[in-house]
Symmetry: C2
């Protein structure tokens, strides 16, 4: 089974209380596909970069079995660039620079080799671009997942709602869920948002873990208490990538398996924040990931078998 | 095995976005002992009220097998009174009125019938009063648990640290853990706080559940997503009471059993917020509590048995 991801491949410059970077490699498409690659060896990326994008990074993605037939390289243009600064609490950040560059007129190409993909992950992008990708697939994938952000709720809510009607799973954070639903109870928000289209909903809560909703089922994944969060950039995308890598590899969308995928995504995200950018994701191996997953198992497990009352 | 609780038995007047109450029964000692009573039928309460406190409420406590030999009724004096108003997000509140009344010169009495108690719960009170109770016990209990709040960190930090040296378990919320430790990572905070004395630490995270720490062990209990939080007053005390009721009844302080106690406390707290004050706790039965506990089991459970990597 194959997974196709659409998302930005870009430059970031990040400042946190622990230090700052020059331009480093970032973008939702980058984080998602690297995270997916721990599970899924058959994946495709749809994106666009400028002439300034380093070949060695494209080679890094190819070496992780990521098909780049759908990645356009625009001659004479520059890659998307975002710069941000995190506050001391690491939960809030200011955007310092956003240069859309190649993303401004991004017209996503779906190569023939990507047709018949069974799983589709729409990384955070303009909802109209996300919907275009769905429309350009000859066959509807088995599961379409989508990320988005407050920004699109503010400026393109109609496009967002149009796209939501066509997806199976929405992955957003708690603040976004509250904004999109207009209510503060996440339980109520989950019902309202699912009435917009997606049957499945994941609400990411940062250090507090994540919630998965489907029909009457709810799952609460723990957040692993970390000694240090060095750089939160890309953690949400890494979660989504690990989740979709796991689901597409196992080809099983039962609620029980989606829970496992949430844990796989959470484990990868917990690595992501340990260093700047994609650095930590690119250095860990499968054994370290497996150990981290076991930490989640230990963290959340309990046996409540004795009734006392 | 018996459980002794010290804590306020008092009047509250509460305003939330859903309505407001006249003077109703509240106080940490009230919530803790009612919650404990679902598990522990052998418990003692140390507290003080004024002449104005209604006999029917004392009867309610007695009917739940709560020994009131250590509850002083001060002739000609008034009970402690607190009034507060919750903001729309229900996470923050303003204190409108605090009348210490009988609490101002509270000198806790430990009756002979309470000596040899195996479990002690120190509800939120002045740390010097909490320590006095410990000092007045002839034999050290098997487990001493303690609650406190920011207020005491601000005005009585030395007394608080003195008491912390004598307790086994501290139960506080995330904001208090950050203030007490001076660091924002809860993982690091847990180590710093345990270096002050308590071997065990519970950090309550409201809607996000709770964390339990002991030595190298961590447990993350889920927060049950609720449709409506009607009144958060007493939820933390209810959690502590459910926890200590469970632990003292099972008389087992293994980490595995403390996890179960955290779930029992969380389930009771999730009822507490559904109505004003103690109303909901006083109307639920054991079967409803058992069902709610099963919701927690379902919410957090997953089987991660297949390695894919």
């Amino acid at each position: 089974m194959s997974l196709t991801t659409v998302g930005s491949v870009a430059f970031d410059a990040i400042e946190t209380p622990f230090g700052k970077t020059d331009k480093i490699i970032g973008g939702a498409g980058t984080y998602i596909s690297i995270a997916s690659s721990f599970y899924q060896k058959n994946q495709n990326l749809i994106s666009v970069v400028g002439e300034d994008f380093p070949q060695h990074m494209l080679d890094t993605l190819k070496n992780r079995s990521i098909n780049l037939d759908g990645l356009q390289i625009k001659k004479g243009e520059k890659s998307f660039f975002w710069s941000g600064k995190y506050h001391n609490d690491m939960n809030t950040r200011d955007t310092l620079i956003t240069e859309l560059n190649v993303l401004e007129h991004f017209d996503p190409i779906v190569p023939d080799s990507y047709q018949n993909t069974e799983y589709l992950m729409l990384g955070n992008l303009s909802p109209s671009v996300q919907e275009t990708v769905i429309n350009r697939l000859n066959n509807r994938p088995k599961l379409i997942a989508m990320d988005t952000m407050n920004f699109w709720m503010d400026i393109a809510l109609n496009d967002l709602k149009s796209c939501l009607k066509k997806v199976d799973l929405l992955i957003i954070n708690d603040e976004e869920a509250r904004q999109l639903s207009g209510v503060s109870s996440l339980s109520r928000a989950s019902k309202i948002i699912r009435s917009f289209g997606p049957e499945y909903l994941i609400i990411k809560k940062g250090e507090h873990g994540a919630l998965l909703f489907h029909e009457e089922n709810m799952f609460c994944a723990p957040g692993l208490p970390l000694e240090e969060v060095f750089d939160p950039t890309g953690a949400g995308d890494t979660f989504a990538g690990g989740f979709m890598g796991y689901v597409s590899k196992t080809d099983d969308i039962s609620f029980e398996n989606l829970k496992r995928a949430v844990i796989a995504g959470s484990a990868l995200a917990s690595f992501c924040v340990e260093k700047f950018g994609t650095e930590r994701l690119l250095e860990i191996n499968s054994e370290q990931l497996e150990d981290r997953i076991q930490e989640f198992v230990k963290l959340a497990g309990f046996q409540m078998n004795v009734s006392l009352i």
